[in-house]
Amino acid sequence: MVLSLHLIALALYGVATALALAPFLGVGAPARVAMLAASAAGAALHVVGVSQLSVVGLAPSLSLLALCLILLQLASEAVLRASAVALFTAPLAAGLVGLALLLGLAPGAEVASGRGAWLLLHVALSFFGVAFLALAFIAAALYLLQFRQLKTKHFGQMFQHFPPLERLDRLNQFALVVGFPTLTLGVLLAIGYAVRFAGAVQVDKAQIVWGMFTWVVLGWAVWVRVVRHWTGRRAAFASIAGFAAVLLVYVALKLAAPGAERFL
């Protein structure tokens, strides 16, 4: 059941990817509702699939991250009509679900209720935090591409189908400002969980150092946005730097300590 639901969600995310790419492949713009429907149907099945998983381990984590991305894509589309976000989120979600399936997904064991709620909150906040930062990165990338189209006076498919600059700037700011504290809270809950249920925090020095580095870079990106009132291109570059830090540090730590039994 879990596998079937994930496979169907994967197929629907694939359809959403194809629909998002259609205007750039010369096929013509599909109806907005078709792309929304494919993503929403995939997300609905994906929610059911994820609800049957234990949230411990790399494969379920990737699946959950993919779901968070699609949910944020749908929210961006509904609130800001930023349908071009799907250009990134749909293939990314499809890739993450595909990778999760390759790593192996199976229904998980029940976790004790008190610990379960704590763990669930930590996982949900952490992945939504990462997904928000990914959304900020996507909005920043779209901003820079649209900015370039406007400056160089290229009025092609990107110009036509990408959202306006100001809308992308707002999306970037919102995702960054929400994503950073959400992720921070998720990490703090992880520390609290470790202290309360395992007696101590068991992380190595590299994780602490690189984790702090990431937090500082992200904090700087938020600070320049909120306190220094950076907007536009500079703010987009700051967001990209913040998400790049998250991504690079994760990959580096994963390479240093490989294994599919843990997300980090």
Binding site: L150, K151, K153, P164, L165, E166, T231, G232, R233
Partner: protein, 427 residues
């Protein structure tokens, strides 16, 4: 529907292809003058009329019997011209199926100066509503179907896609920078026609054109008044300090050299806190130094850029014409089937009634000479006469209905009327 008996549909008028602006503007009929104009045409014999008057066309759609109504329209338009020239020299006449096709093409934007523009559909609707008391059943149906055809063409084809005029391209570009344009502020430098058009497009999107600067203050004030409340006039010298506050600047002065320099804009940017500034330079020669476009967060477009956007959209629209024309053809056929049937039914009814009367009279006379017939035999004779009548009527009925649907029915109907003396034929 007796009103449709022998009534043909005619359109007479002028448009942007047949008449220059100075003629079209004299023919333009404001809404309050339409009822009087229609009453005059109806008094000349038309069964119904609708007037469509926009900046690009003035057209009278008539349901008429081929009498004096068209002449009355030309007389009315010639009076408006008022300089001894004949209005008919600038105009065109389309009848029946061609008139229906013409209105459908107009409603779909296929006959517009800017191919596929959507404003015309609203104007067709407005014209119909304004003329409704004088339209009559045939034109009522025609205009309803024309609005449906316009919607269908725009939905099923790409003929209305993109921004096919320079002013609408300007709005599209500004929209890609600012998103929602409502509440944005614009400054106009100069008073060119294109700038006024672009400003009107921006105002329709909710932009507040709050400042109009021109070398002559009076002209600036005239434009500001035309643009509505909230707009105010400035001299050119006063305009520079406002660069830091507005979102969009439209330049259209007649200056022989660039007046918006890199230095002026760079000075204004410091106070803008990196807010984007969109400058639309519509002047030839250009009002803005090209280097201004290299400033961070300044988006500079000249008339060539806007025309490139418009041309790309127009080319895309042109490729959709065959599909749009195909839809128009289909819809003309559908209307004509309805309309043809409408015209044939009363004539066939009269025809049958006339022959039935002849049959009844001849039967009665014949039976007087055959007093020995039994009731069954009389019934047989009566049945024979009815069968013969039906056989004789079958082929003409089928042929008339088919001819009416092909658009050739009116000549046959007239012939039928003449041959059997059904009523006074059309002139």
């Amino acid at each position: 529907m007796s009103a449709s008996e022998s009534v043909s549909i005619t359109v007479l008028g002028v448009n942007h292809v047949t008449a220059p602006l100075e003629v079209r503007e004299r023919f333009w009929l404001p809404g309050h003058e339409v009822p009087a104009a229609l009453q005059r045409v109806l008094a000349a014999g038309a069964q119904g009329g609708v007037v469509l008057s926009t900046c690009n066309r003035t057209e009278f759609y008539l349901a008429d019997r081929g009498n004096g109504a068209p002449a009355a329209v030309w007389a009315l338009l010639t009076e408006r011209l008022g300089d001894g020239r004949a209005a008919a020299d600038f105009g065109y006449v389309r009848r029946d199926r061609d008139a229906v096709r013409h209105l459908y093409r107009v409603s779909a934007g296929l006959d517009s100066m800017i191919l596929g523009e959507s404003q015309i559909q609203g104007q067709v609707k407005e014209a119909w509503e304004l003329s409704r008391p004088h339209a009559g059943p045939v034109l009522h149906r025609l205009f309803q179907s024309a609005l449906a055809v316009g919607s269908r063409v725009r939905t099923e084809t790409g003929v209305g896609m993109g921004n096919a005029s320079a002013p609408s391209a300007a709005v599209a570009i500004a929209g890609k920078i600012f998103g929602d344009l409502a509440g944005r502020e614009a400054l106009i430098l100069g008073a060119g026609d294109m700038a006024e058009l672009a400003a009107a497009c921006l105002v329709s999107e909710g932009v507040r054109v709050s400042l109009v600067a021109n070398r002559t203050y009076e002209r600036a004030r005239a434009i500001a008044e035309q643009l509505g409340a909230g707009s105010r006039a400035l001299t050119l010298d006063e305009a520079w300090e406002h660069f830091s506050g507005v979102d969009i600047v439209i330049c259209s002065t007649a200056a022989p050299h660039a007046i918006v320099t890199w230095q002026r804009v760079a000075n204004a940017l410091a106070a803008r806190r990196r807010r984007p500034l969109c400058i639309l330079d519509l002047a030839v020669p250009r009002d803005v130094e090209p280097a201004v476009g290299q400033l961070e967060n300044v988006f500079l477009y000249d008339i060539d850029d806007l025309q490139a956007v418009a041309a790309a959209a127009a080319a895309q629209r042109r490729s959709e014409i065959p599909h749009a024309e195909h839809i128009v053809d289909q819809e003309v056929e559908e209307f004509w089937t309805w309309y043809g049937g409408l015209a044939v039914v009363p004539v066939l009814r009269d025809f049958r009634r006339r022959l039935e009367a002849v049959r009844a009279a001849e039967l009665e006379r014949a039976l007087k000479h055959l007093p020995d017939l039994t009731p069954a035999e009389r019934e047989q004779v009566e049945h024979l006469s009815e069968a013969l009548l039906n056989k004789f009527l079958h082929q003409p009925t089928v042929a008339l209905k088919a001819a009416a649907q092909d658009g050739r029915g009116y000549a046959l109907l007239d012939a039928l009327r003449r041959l059997f003396g059904l009523e006074t034929p059309r002139e």
